[in-house]
């Protein structure tokens, strides 16, 4: 199928195929150019056109065709002869002279977008043709000015809109400045720029064309985007796919190895550490397996998909991928079931308290000992010789994702009974109250009372084999009013209900302790109390001085006013109600 054009040549209507039309048009242009300077050019060209029309009509009748094609046109041209052949016959003095006006009239180079040599829309290639340069330099320049605030992109878009596509052969010839048999010429750049300006003016003048041009622009832009994604984009996707394949395979290998490692260290101590200590012993296999599948299958699928993208090859068939999906769902189900099961074991809460009355002292010291204390069975389990005094295990674990949350909390309160009392509260979750209580009982915690010094271990331990069920240890120390408390700095972070960092001895910042006293209003920082007392004393002194001052100059109202104002201020600060 080919597009047909109806032409009027020599007053004859002829249907002609597009490609044939281009050929014929080019030929007639050559002929016109050739006779342009001839005195009788119009007549000659008309004669030739008439003859061509006649020849074409004859051919159509002969071949019983409706439409002229390239063969017909070629035959006509062969009979009429090329322009080059005319030269040899015509007389010397009448040979057409190619002068400069003639060139401008017919061989003007025009600015078109070169659709045959385009990267985006052929703008750069078109400019390159126009200025006789290699398109790559124009492209490079465009790219460079694109980095200058996107200016180049704007210019490109505008040119894309203004410059028409070189569609026909003639237009392509005009774009390249190579119309038949015409020699090189000097391009009049100004003239062409003027033409571009005019075109821009036209675009502005008429709304219709600019909408049409914008339509063309948008259409072509998306066409280009499509080509980009299926062309350059494909390459990018393939590169990404390659990365995914490499890293995916590495990940899968790591997953297999680590799963095997977990499986291998079945009884290893890793399960004593958070968060692995959450998992019940009997479920470890199932959870490990489930988690493995849940992680493994999607990554495998991603890798397979990437292989498909990168190599255009189906890595596995549909049955196999369906089976993978089933396996993955099974893994999700197993993991979900286990997770639900574990979370159900946090349902009930139980706590266990143990109260110890301490000997009465006027001053107590609270200290933290980072050495680990072990229960008797743990000592045996960890092969610690209880008789070897030199062997001290120091717990230097810092907080981190894999450290179980086993800090103790210390509360300090006023004793109502007048006795010093330490309450240890062990809390835990469990599936039933019974199991929660059991979990709480499996907390092993130690502190030492050395005369008036209370030495706490910062962390509690879970007896070996105990799973983590949000166990907590809270210590409540009750001391009578008037008792002093020395808090060592190590203990600050474990004290729950006071902001202990505020009470640093201001005169001597280097102390690693702070002194507190229990009052009716709770624990007070001694250093702060002292400071407040000092301040109060100063104010009272000032008040007494002011009283004296008030008796001077009884008639000076201004003086009296300022003194009584100050008295009011000081009394307010002291908390004394102003007299009515």
């Amino acid at each position: 199928m080919e597009k047909t054009i109806i032409i009027n040549i020599g007053n004859t209507i002829i249907h002609i195929e597009e490609s044939a039309y281009e050929r014929l048009k080019a030929y007639l242009n050559e002929v016109k150019h050739y006779f342009a300077n001839h005195a009788d050019d119009l007549e000659i060209v008309t004669d030739i056109e008439n003859r061509i029309a006649e020849l074409l009509t004859e051919q159509l009748e002969e071949q019983k065709k409706q439409v002229v094609d390239s063969t017909n046109v070629n035959a006509v041209i062969a009979q009429m002869g090329r322009v080059q052949d005319f030269d040899t016959v015509e007389e010397g003095e009448e040979e057409p002279v190619i002068n400069s006006t003639y060139q401008h009239q017919y061989v003007e180079k025009k600015l078109y977008r070169d659709m045959d040599d385009r990267v985006i829309a052929g703008v750069c290639a078109g400019i390159a043709h126009f200025v006789n340069a290699d398109p790559k330099w124009i492209r490079l320049a465009t790219l460079l000015i694109s980095f200058a605030g996107g200016f180049g992109i704007l210019v490109y878009a505008i040119l894309w809109i203004i410059m028409p596509k070189a569609k026909s052969r003639i237009e392509r010839m005009e774009m390249k400045g190579e119309p038949a048999n015409l020699q090189g010429f000097q391009k009049n750049l100004d003239e062409e720029l003027q033409a571009v300006k005019e075109r821009l003016g036209e675009v502005n003048k008429h709304a219709q064309p600019i909408f049409a041009r914008l339509g063309i622009f948008i259409g072509e832009f998306f066409e280009w985007l499509g080509r980009f994604i299926s062309g350059t984009g494909k390459v990018i996707f393939k590169v990404i796919a390659g990365f995914i394949i490499v890293f995916g395979v590495l990940f899968l290998l790591t997953l297999i190895i680590s799963t095997a490692a977990f499986q291998g260290f079945w009884d290893a101590s890793i399960y004593e550490y958070f968060p692995f200590s959450i998992i019940n012993e009997g479920n470890r296999g199932a959870i490990l397996f489930g988690a493995f599948i849940v992680c493994f299958v999607p990554v495998l699928a991603l890798v397979l998909f990437s292989i498909r993208v990168a190599f255009n090859k189906q890595a596995i068939n549909k049955t196999l991928s369906f089976a993978l999906l089933i396996i993955w769902l099974a893994g999700v189900a197993v993991t979900g079931y286990q997770a639900a099961k574990i979370s159900s074991e946090f349902k009930q809460h139980a706590e266990l308290t143990q109260t110890t009355d301490l000997k009465a002292y006027p001053v107590y010291t609270i200290n933290i000992d980072k050495s680990k204390y072990f229960s008797k069975e743990d000592s045996v389990a960890y092969h610690i010789d209880a008789n070897n005094r030199h062997q001290i295990v120091v717990d230097d674990f810092e907080d981190g994702p894999f450290v179980s949350p086993n800090h103790i909390r210390i509360d300090i309160n006023k004793s109502e009974t007048g006795t010093t009392r330490l309450t240890q509260k062990y809390e835990s979750q469990g599936k039933t109250f019974q199991s929660a209580l059991q979990n709480a009982q499996n907390i092993s915690y130690n502190y030492i009372v050395k005369d008036s010094e209370l030495i706490f271990s910062p962390r509690f331990q879970l007896r070996k084999g105990t799973i983590w069920r949000n166990q907590e240890v809270r210590l409540n120390l009750e001391i009578p009013v008037g008792t002093r408390l020395i808090l060592k700095q190590d203990a600050y972070r474990y004290v729950n209900n006071y902001w202990t960092w505020d009470c640093n001895n201001r005169e001597n910042d280097h102390n690693d302790y702070s002194v507190w006293i229990m009052t009716d209003d709770g624990l007070k920082c001694v250093a702060q109390l002292k400071e407040e007392a000092l301040k109060k004393e100063k104010l009272e002194q000032e008040l007494r001085d002011l009283d004296h001052l008030q008796q001077d100059k009884p008639n000076d109202t201004l003086y009296q006013d300022s003194v009584s104002n100050r008295i009011k201020e000081v009394k307010e600060e002291l908390g004394i109600e102003p007299e009515q």
Binding site: E58, M80, G81, D85, E90
Partner: protein, 111 residues
């Protein structure tokens, strides 16, 4: 190249003379002139003929009539004018002289 140039010069003059001779035999259409020239092995393309005919017509040697055609546009049928006939008879004479000259040149005066 030199031969080509000379051939061109020769053909140019002769072509004009031949065309006038062909037309002198009666009213004739351009493509028929071409056909006759082809038969005479004086090979030219049709494109060459039109400028020649136009020039001869404008010089008053030829005139033409429009004749309706069954295939395509009306055709120009050329005839010689009186001037044309006069010129042609001059050319006939010139040709005789030239043929003689060529004959003498080639074979020698005594043969």
């Amino acid at each position: 190249m030199i031969a080509e140039n000379t051939q061109t010069q020769m053909r140019k003059g002769i072509l004009e003379y031949c065309v006038l001779s062909i037309i002198s035999r009666g009213e004739i259409y351009a493509s028929d002139i071409i056909a006759e020239l082809r038969t005479a092995k004086l090979l030219v393309v049709e494109g060459t003929l039109y400028p020649l005919l136009t020039r001869l017509k404008n010089n008053g040697l030829l005139s033409y009539n429009w004749v309706e055609s069954t295939s395509g546009p009306p055709r120009k049928y050329y005839t010689l004018t009186e001037d044309g006939r006069g010129i042609l008879s001059q050319l006939d004479q010139t040709w005789q002289e030239l043929a003689y000259a060529v004959g003498i040149s080639q074979k020698g005066a005594n043969s």
